[in-house]
Amino acid sequence: MKNMRTNNFTLAIFLGFMLAVLSDCQRNLSDDVEFAKYPNTPGVFIDGFVGGLQYFPFAGSKLNAFTVDTETRYAGTASMRIDVPNVGDASGAYAGAIFPDNGGRDLSDFDALTFWAKATQSGTINEIGFGNDFGENKHMVTLNNMRINTTWTKYIIPLPDPSQLSFEKGLFYYAEGPENGNGYTFWIDELKFEKLGTVAQPRPAILSGEDKTETSFIGVNTSIGGLTQTFNLASGQNLTVSVAPSYFTFTSSNVEVARVNEQGVVSVVGAGTAKITAILGGVKAKGSLTIQSLGQFTKAPTPPARNAADVISVFSNAYTNIPVDFYNGFFAPYQTTLGGADLTINGDNIIQYTQLNFVATEFKNPTVNASQMTHLHVDIQIREAIDPSDFITIQLGDFGTNGAFGGGDDKSGDYKILSAGLSSNQWISLDIPLASFTGLTNRSNLAQIFFISSDATSNNTPTISTILVDNMYFYK
């Protein structure tokens, strides 16, 4: 569901008004102040749209997927019917829509969005929830992969923190594609907010509950993902929903090292260690991000300007890069290397590999004809002390005329750099003649660049663990 339209009209006018009022008076609000209350109407769709409810399908979805059905219903006189299209349906690739009440509702007295649902067949609804308003989606909550079958069943989507929902527009949304290529129909009825009193034991999480550590530098921005809230329901079921970052209050243990905003975006501002944690509704979230900032980052030397015909760039901000399939193939089962092209430092993209033993960048769509090129350039920075037995081998792989791995026409060549040629924590700029890659007898279908820190000479034990890579290109 990547192509959903998000019309970025915002709450700017409302917020601007609030700011104006607050900055004018310069006083604390007294206890007598009563904020305007929005209606706390519970119904969303009972036998028709409740209140000012509207229907806006996602762009690219089957626009008429939703209808009101007066024949199939759980209770009352009508239900919501959603027709998921077949693969290839010209009217849209999936069913997806939001149902906002743009007047806004006060949901703070409720603890769950509930509904009854059934379908013409068993299926798994990709996304269903609320808080999607084609605006900031500030309070979006999504139940992913909701199983549905042919029997009317009651579903509960808990509110992560009702106290934050005193003004909410996005009352319901869903997005569902075909099941095994086939469309089907599901129905939703008695869709409403409720105070169940049995939604309990909140257990929020960031980074999916993991405690992660990242090496970083000043200027790096990282988003904290894996934001969830889990409740125990009356049935005993533990239900987890994905929630928007605004529900959390993020904290950095050291704002001189890293700061975090209300969207969960971490900005590294100094050297040292900072731990990012979060709270949702007064409960500490499981999971944390420890930033180990190495301080100022020195960019790799900027490559010289070259004619486009003289360079084939795989990874550099200085040139136009060729299409790359991946910067880490995660080749099972022997590869341990983590990371890839996921560092952005002051606008410069950097590859970082950790737990290196070997790793490949692959570019086979299409393969690269470097037969006219003379050198490979790459900048490497080793983020640890160099031991005498350390080495890095760079290997180039050519997939041959079939343009695919295997088939008997592949060639590869290695270039090994021993410890004497390495230094730690500074950029090592390598310009390696392609003729030095022993065994690479053909380079008209190049498709792989490997970095290898383990081989028979090290008893297959990795020698170098953490490296940064930038400016990988062939040139003449």
Binding site: G197, T198, A200, N232, A234, G236
Partner: protein, 279 residues
């Protein structure tokens, strides 16, 4: 204590559902009404109480511990090892705190505590009441219950057992009140559940009690009397006519609840506000 007054008034209200109404209500039940006929007596003279107001170990004048994992997990294939360590049972801030921990201990994977008044307090008839905030999760099994004080010479089930409150952690809105005796023990026990409609037993304190007299045991939660068991209800000898002692425990796993799973959160705690016995 603050709860005492308000609760007494609630009980007095219950008593209005008096014996005059019993015949009427019985006839309703024959007509298919699901309300239970209740016979209630006035039992408001306090004879024993532990308000758990003294920090530290539970009052040794009143409470013993069961230690270990019993025979076959206390007869139920329970998984915990009971200890008398403060990490499993302690009094803090006005509460008895019983904690079930996930830790390897003397061959068991969990530890917890079981307190009992055997040899220190027992009574025939009366009102036995507690106020508890219960733990939760698959495989968690807290209970407030009683056994016949003659159990050493008159083995279970002949000694009799009254389970004033048992909860399956995977059913956080439902408790059970049960009696066991000769001919009606284990799976054949006489039991009834009570389910909260808009609340849970693990998010706030609730009162659990029985009113026990000759030929009846009434079960209540908060101000709701939800069951009465009389000799006519049991499929064997009525053995609830002798002194019983009190047990409070927090079991992990066992036949009644099944084992904890990956989603069960540890530690789990049971907060007991008070135990009171009236006559």
């Amino acid at each position: 204590m603050r709860m005492n007054k308000s609760y007494t008034s609630k009980i007095n209200r219950l008593i209005l559902v008096g014996s005059n109404l019993v015949l009427v209500m019985l006839s309703f039940s024959f007509l298919g009404c699901t309300d239970d006929a209740q016979k209630v007596v006035n039992l408001n003279t306090l004879v024993m109480q532990d308000e758990f107001d003294k920090q530290g170990a539970p009052n040794t004048a009143l409470w013993n511990y069961n230690i270990g994992n019993g025979q076959n997990g206390w007869g139920n294939s329970e998984l915990q090892y009971y200890t008398d360590r403060s990490k499993n049972a302690t009094v803090q801030n006005g509460y008895l705190i019983i904690s079930a921990l996930k830790e390897s201990y003397n061959g068991s994977a969990y530890t917890s505590a079981r307190l009992l008044t055997k040899g220190k307090f027992d009574q025939k008839y009366g009102r036995f009441e507690t106020r508890i905030k219960l733990p939760w999760g698959q495989g968690i099994w807290p209970a407030f219950w009683m056994l016949g004080a003659d159990i050493d010479t008159n083995p279970w089930p002949a000694a009799g057992e009254i389970d004033i409150m048992e909860l399956r952690g995977q059913n956080p809105t439902t408790i059970l009140g049960t009696v066991h005796g000769p001919g009606y023990s284990g799976g054949q026990s006489i039991s009834k559940s009570y389910t909260l409609k808009n609340g849970r037993f693990d998010t706030e304190f609730h009162v659990f009690g029985i009113e026990w007299g000759p030929e009846y045991v009434n079960f209540y939660v908060d101000n709701v009397l939800y069951n009465q068991i009389t000799p006519a209800d049991v499929t064997g000898e009525w053995v609830f006519n002798k002194p019983f002692f009190i047990l409070i425990n927090l079991a992990v796993g066992g036949n009644f609840v099944g084992s904890p799973n990956d989603e069960t959160v540890f530690p789990q705690t049971m907060l007991v506000d008070y135990v009171r016995v009236y006559k």
